[in-house]
């Protein structure tokens, strides 16, 4: 294992985050704060509770997931796409670095940034609403697993994209709608039965449900199913990444 290479890529990516702290940390924190103001204070004050939990507190896990998914994908896709775009990817490809080490460096840094952001958002939420974490270890596990999985998906998007527009397509047109419809702001049990069934096809439902369970002990779907689905997404992402490096897709001619 070329540990120095993993460390070099990881530190390089983390340094990029420090240079763009406004974009990577400040901006998502402000956006999330605005959600709390609008949904928590303004609209939330008219909704008494969901499953016995104050609405402001109820939406916290969903909001953290919203930022976590978006930032994991954004950080990882940009991290690998930018060297492809500028051509500097040649030095990674010509160095004695294995595909696993490349992924650990790029996706690991993206996941780290997202986890840091998630924790900052949680701390910010604590300013607006009372927070309670019933299963802190599981909360951390869901946070890390989701960040890792979606950083891998971001890495895949960064390899697939052949322009900056494509980097935005998947997060904007797929991930954000799925997150909004995946129970960030409501429990899918509040939906009419046919729509509830449809919602179960949304993979983000399982992520949010499991994450919310770790906070309040209540879930839309069984927590074991949530954990299993998260593991399936992780395995799927790993399979696609393995295929990319085996075939050289968009990396090696």
């Amino acid at each position: 294992m070329n540990i120095e290479a993993v460390r070099a890529i990881y530190m390089f990516e983390m340094a990029r985050a420090r240079r763009t702290v406004t974009q990577t940390i400040v901006s998502p924190v402000i956006s999330t704060s605005l959600y709390f103001v609008v949904f928590g204070a303004a609209i939330g004050s008219r909704i008494q509770s969901v499953g016995g939990i104050g609405y402001g507190s109820f939406i916290v896990p969903g909001l953290v997931m919203l930022s976590l998914l978006a930032q994991s994908i954004s950080n990882a896709s940009f991290g690998i796409y930018f060297p492809r775009f500028t051509g500097t990817i040649y030095e990674v490809l010509s160095a004695p670095v294995s595909p696993l080490e490349i992924v650990l460096g790029y996706a690991g840094a993206a996941a780290s940034k997202s986890i840091i952001l998630g924790i900052i958002i949680l701390a910010t939420a604590g300013i607006f609403v009372p927070l309670h974490v019933e299963h802190p270890v599981w909360m951390l596990a869901f946070l890390v697993l989701t960040a890792a999985t979606f950083s891998l998906f971001g890495f895949i998007i960064g390899i697939w994209a052949d322009g900056f527009e494509k980097l935005q397509i998947v997060p904007l047109l797929i991930v954000t709608p799925l997150t909004f419809l995946g129970g960030s702001f409501y429990s899918i049990n509040m939906l009419p039965p046919p729509w509830r069934t449809v919602a179960l096809f949304n993979p983000v439902v399982y992520l949010i449900s499991g994450f919310r369970w770790s906070f309040y002990g209540m879930a839309d779907v069984n927590v074991a199913v949530s954990l299993g689905m998260t593991a399936v997404f992780l395995a799927l992402a790993l399979l696609i990444v393995a295929w990319i490096f085996r075939t050289g897709y968009r990396l090696k001619a």
Partner: protein, 327 residues
């Protein structure tokens, strides 16, 4: 098998015969891109340890593809490459550890500092930070004063030197320079030639591609010419100039001639349009009569001249004739 040759064999792959002093062995390498474009066709080439090898060829000849295959950036369609005995596919980590690559394009991390981007490259090669080495490389390339500057603030020439610094960050034994002096001024070009000479003295094998034949003529020990994906020839530079070069002897005549005299038939002669200059072309290796013999025949023919000059073909002339001949 010769005394100085060893066989390098991979699992189920044909053996490559390589001399003990060969550091790179390329055997039957072909590359066809997905578009169907055949970039390389059955290239066989060995690079000797410690030499400076110049790979010449017109645009699109396959130079960069060949370098990219050896460095692991492009996959060969067929054939084998070993670097110091390490197969680039099976033993890729050991093979790549030995190589530094300076790409043709000025591809740099715009927002990083010079120091960080050079250190990053060293890290990629699995080496711990060694500030003394990075400092010596930056000083050698006149980049020390810019070590804290962002790459985006560097001039084109500085960026070119930075790419060389990055390639040397991990102390490679083999250095690939893909068009290293494209677009740089004359002073910088000579600085780079000096740097390459110093590297060779330190035992680094240098393979360079260039459009500047003058560059190859100045630096290379051996020259390879590649055209349309095929290696046309590989020769010692001096031998190449001797074997394929030609010489011209020009005589400024006292009285113009209407035509070339019969007495000089058998020589390759050209008469200028005004008849005042007679030029004899002869191969550098042709020692039949030499220049003296020709001048004796001229005197016997009663031709008087007021001045004479000789020129010999450069590597560029040879290169052009080879490539044109193939085209």
């Amino acid at each position: 098998m010769g005394r100085d040759q060893v066989a390098v064999r991979g699992f189920g792959a044909p053996a490559i015969l390589t001399g003990m002093d060969d550091i790179i062995a390329i055997s039957g390498v072909s590359k066809t891109y997905a578009s169907g474009f055949v970039a390389l066709e059955g290239v066989d080439l060995t690079i000797r340890r410690g030499e400076i090898f110049a790979l010449l060829g017109p645009n699109g000849a396959g130079k960069t593809t060949l370098i990219s295959i050896v460095c692991g950036i492009v996959r060969a369609t067929s054939g084998r490459v070993t670097v110091d005995g390490h197969d680039i596919v099976r033993d890729w980590r050991a093979a790549r550890s030995l190589i530094g690559l300076v790409p043709q394009e000025l591809t740099t991390d715009a927002f990083e500092s010079v120091w960080n981007t050079v250190s990053f490259t060293r890290g990629l090669f699995g080496l711990r930070a060694k500030p003394a080495h990075i400092e010596s490389v930056l000083r050698a390339l006149s980049l020390w004063d810019k070590k804290d500057s962002r790459v985006m603030t560097l001039s084109g020439g500085m960026k070119r030197r930075l790419l060389i610094a990055k390639a040397l960050a991990h102390e490679p034994r083999i250095l690939f320079l893909d068009e290293p002096t494209a677009g740089v001024d004359v002073d910088l070009r000579h600085d780079m030639w000096q740097l390459v000479s110093r590297l060779r003295q330190e035992g680094v094998t240098v393979i360079l591609t260039t459009h500047y034949i003058e560059e190859a003529e100045e630096m290379a020990d051996r020259v390879g010419v590649i055209n349309k994906g095929e290696l046309v020839l590989v020769r010692n530079k001096a031998d190449l100039l001797h074997e394929l070069g030609s010489k011209r002897l020009s005589l400024r005549l006292r009285s113009p001639l209407a035509r070339v005299p019969e007495a000089l038939a058998g020589w390759r002669l050209e008469l200028s349009s005004d008849g005042s200059e007679l030029t004899c072309l002869y191969d550098a290796k042709d020692v039949r009569d030499g220049v003296g013999g020709f001048l004796e025949r001229v005197r016997e023919a009663g031709i008087e001249f007021t001045d004479l000059s000789t020129t010999e073909s450069s590597l560029e002339d040879i290169f052009v004739s080879l490539v044109r001949g193939r085209n």
